[in-house]
Amino acid sequence: MALVAETITYSYGGGSSSVPPPEPAVDGFSASFEHGRVSAIMGPNGCGKTTLAKLLVGILKPLHGEVILDGTNLVGLTLAETGKRVGLVMQQPGRQLFCTSVKDEIEFGLKCLELSQEETEQRKNKYLEYFGLQQYEDRFPFELSTGEKQRLVIAAVVCMQPDYLILDEPTSALDRGRKRALGALLRRLSKDENTGVILISHDEWFVSEYADGVTVMDHGRIVCRKESMR
């Protein structure tokens, strides 16, 4: 049981014949992301990390190769079906919020999961508190600071308790204390709830502290892989 990428390749804007197709953003990438591990992905700007994340949940379809989620090809699943099993926190916090209050933002996913009233309430309060957002409960999400938005987006995805969790630069706007809190949460999710966490990050301290293994990418390809951080 794992989220597996099998030699996936993707390149942007190869559509029209007049412009030569650019270098692929992800080029023959293969990896298996297992349950119960925090797998980090690192690499310089523009090496294709965000593209890879989008391929892993099916927002983008690979030109070659396939993504297999616990034995099923992503091609056969709708985004909603994939999203309930694979959570994605995208890179720009401000572009993923769409509700009129912080509370609604967290409840959105819970309602789509069709959980019971008390379960929804309980999970909402738990994550609002964990990410220090209780006092903003009724605020308009767009009025939050960047770091608060980032915490809200993470809370809104994590509260759905997906089997796999992909985080694209989740610490870019967080202060040190919040980073530690997030790191501890990721560790707990992977060890206690057996979640497969895929952590895309530039933050070397955060990765060395909380990841179980690292994959380094460049130009859409894997340049090195380290299975253990010890």
Binding site: T78, L79, F98, T100, G109, A156
Partner: protein, 258 residues
């Protein structure tokens, strides 16, 4: 063969933006001023001929305008079916279950509206054969204040960005478990309105931030500004700028007296 096409392809591209703007303005004005079907059809013919001489081939034309053609056909059908329904003074051409459908007046009206829409779409296609920044220069050289011209052009640039942003929110909603395919019509409409909210907020916010960023980088610090490039009208450009409106005026009288 191929070479030939490449040369043709250039023609509309290398044309100065001003004749194109003039063509757009005069064609859309002309088609709105009268409701004579033959006249509007002749304007359309002029536009299509211009596009073909300008180097657009038919298959490309079809590709570009396909979606709009479908919309126009749909509008045409709806218009012809229902226009004039329930009116006592016109005789319907079709009876279904005691109701009259399809009136001669309806067909004519639908044809006129569809033709007008086509004129505007084709004029737009001609405008598309040019660089946005050339239009900016052209507008400025036509003595339109550059802050205003700049705004128009930035607006045009922003349309694809807004679309991308909407797609992004749409993806996010689905990933949080919202299945748009399973929603009923009202639910769908509500969800689509839900997509518009964040787009609107972020667009307003961005406009605000961008105006500040632009001013800190010196935009509008001088009352006038100069441009590296100057557009020069060649003989053909001047001739076409005059010719296009003249053709439409000429056609008007031709149709009127025939």
């Amino acid at each position: 063969m191929n070479e030939n096409r490449a040369i043709k392809k250039g023609r509309l591209r290398i044309l100065d933006p001003r004749p194109k703007l003039m063509l757009m303005a005069s064609a859309s004005t002309a088609c709105m001023l009268t409701s004579n079907l033959w006249y509007i059809a002749s304007i359309l013919v002029v536009l299509v001929v211009t596009l073909l001489i300008g180097g657009m081939n038919l298959s490309l034309l079809w590709n570009r305008a396909k979606a709009i053609f479908m919309l126009i056909i749909m509008l045409f059908v709806i218009q012809t079916l229902f226009f004039g329904m329930g009116r006592a003074d016109a005789a319907p051409l079709l009876h279904i279950g005691g109701f009259g459908f399809v009136y001669t007046g309806g067909i004519l009206l639908a044809a006129m509206l569809s033709l007008r829409l086509l004129v505007i779409v084709f004029a737009g296609l001609i405008l598309l054969e040019g660089e946005i920044r050339d239009y900016l220069l052209a507008l400025v050289q036509m003595k339109i204040p550059y802050t205003f011209a700049f705004m128009v052009v930035i607006g045009l640039h922003f349309l694809p960005i807004l679309r991308e942003e909407a797609t992004n929110v749409y993806c996010c909603m689905q990933l949080r478990g919202k299945d748009f395919k399973k929603l009923k019509l009202t639910g769908k409409i509500r969800a689509y309105i839900g997509i518009c909210l964040p787009i609107l907020v972020s667009a307003l916010r961005r406009a605000d931030e961008m105006s500040i960023a632009m001013e800190t980088r010196g935009f509008r610090s001088q009352p006038r500004r100069t441009y590296m490039r100057q557009l020069k009208m060649r003989g053909a450009d001047i001739a076409l700028t005059i010719l296009f409106p003249a053709i439409f005026v000429g056609l008007y009288f031709l149709v009127k007296f025939l």
